[in-house]
């Protein structure tokens, strides 16, 4: 019984080479960490009774679990990149503010 392994390849302008995702060895489940119910529901005292069905012990069942792992990997990776991008932006903004304040590079044209 050949197993069905999903795969993803990501590329972006700032990456020299593509990033490849595979589920890898280990335990895979359909209950992905990035596909949980919204925090709002849990924080309001709700419970999650809508978990996915467990994977059947079939090639497609395993595929569904492995694809869930792959989805988590991609979501976590991209979220991390988004955070870094945001940090870079706020560093940039800070640098701008610093320059404005310390180098008094602005406002000089506004004096009227």
């Amino acid at each position: 019984m050949s197993s069905l392994i999903p795969k993803a390849t990501y590329s972006a302008p700032d990456l020299d080479e593509s990033k490849i995702f595979t589920p890898g060895d280990g335990i895979h489940t359909t209950d992905g960490q990035t596909t949980q119910i919204s925090d709002i529901v849990i924080n309001a005292g709700g419970e999650d009774r809508d978990k996915p069905t467990e994977a059947k012990d079939t090639p497609l069942g395993h595929l569904r679990a492995e694809l869930t792992t792959l989805q988590d990997q991609i979501n976590i990776f991209l979220t991390e990149r988004m955070k870094q991008e945001k940090n870079k932006q706020s560093e940039q903004e800070e640098a701008d503010i610093e320059r404005r304040i310390l180098d008094d590079g602005v406002d000089e044209d506004d004096s009227d």
């Binding site: 529901v41 005292g45 709700g46």
Partner: protein, 373 residues
Amino acid sequence: MTVDLDQYVKPGKGHYIALGLEGSANKLGVGVIKHNIGPLSQTNRAEVLSNIRDTYVTPPGEGFLPRDTARHHRNWVVRIIKKALIEANIKGTDIDCICFTQGPGMGAPLQSVVIAARTLAQLWNNIPLVGVNHCIGHIEMGREITGADNPVVLYVSGGNTQVIAYSKQRYRIFGETLDIAIGNCLDRFARTLKIPNEPAPGYNIEQMAKKGKHLINLPYTVKGMDMSMSGILGYIDQLANDMFGKQPKKVIDEVSGEPITPEDLCFSLQEILFSMLVEITERALAHVNSNQVLIVGGVGSNERLQEMMKLMIQDRKNGQIYATDERFCIDNGIMIAHAGLLSYRTGQTNLINDTVCTQRFRTDEVFIKWRDD
């Protein structure tokens, strides 16, 4: 009636079976319906083989987000389909068509269900797909269950508020809400009061309203044949926040001198909203010269609304009110199967590229080929 409903019957068969999938809001429903050949009548009724529903319920004070609602539908849809097939005791080859809600409704939940419909249709030797307008589903199921043949339809739910009358192969909208739907108005007030969403927020408002005694003054906002409800909600929300917020303010009933309770607020909100519905429905009846009212949609199970409509219709000659119970008036899969099958029997099938769901889909866009009265 002269519409031929049997042009598309499978050779050698005396009946049709349709599977229906509904997921336009927070209910996921799958139903199986059977029609025998020939026009539907009191002696040839549609047969409900199964009607399974699972509702996404949120904690008190919270509405249902599209994301979590779609997640609910996705994670349940295969199990609910299977349950409906088991209860109907049918197999794939018995099915003539797979019907799905094409709109109106919430985008992500609609899409999560049509994905299953498309997959199943292709897996089982390309069973024809039939896209169904959700409102038409309510109307046709209501007519079939109650036997009301040509009523003015009051369609009241969490997403829709319409007064509808049939004319020349269209269900035409006589009056409707100009802003939020009545069920949405009630649900949102339930959230303001933080009352539970189980089994349904509107149901809990109804129970509280039964204990209300004092009618408070609320704006009455009928505009022509249409009505507006957001202003009323804003007004009563403000009142509730004043009464039960951080610095509670006592509000006294002017006549009795007794304090106004949350039950009074629920009572007053229902009375004002339902009076507006009664007024518009009464005018529609006069306009089309009908004496039947059919109430469909989730709010249609409200007994006070049914009672108020009844009082109005009793004044008309042979006036009759028709309503269904929660199995059929709350969103369900069987109504999609039924309306879809009627449409299939007059030739509708959707190619797979023509199965895209749409959040906006007006009731009067659908050509009612199966009626010619």
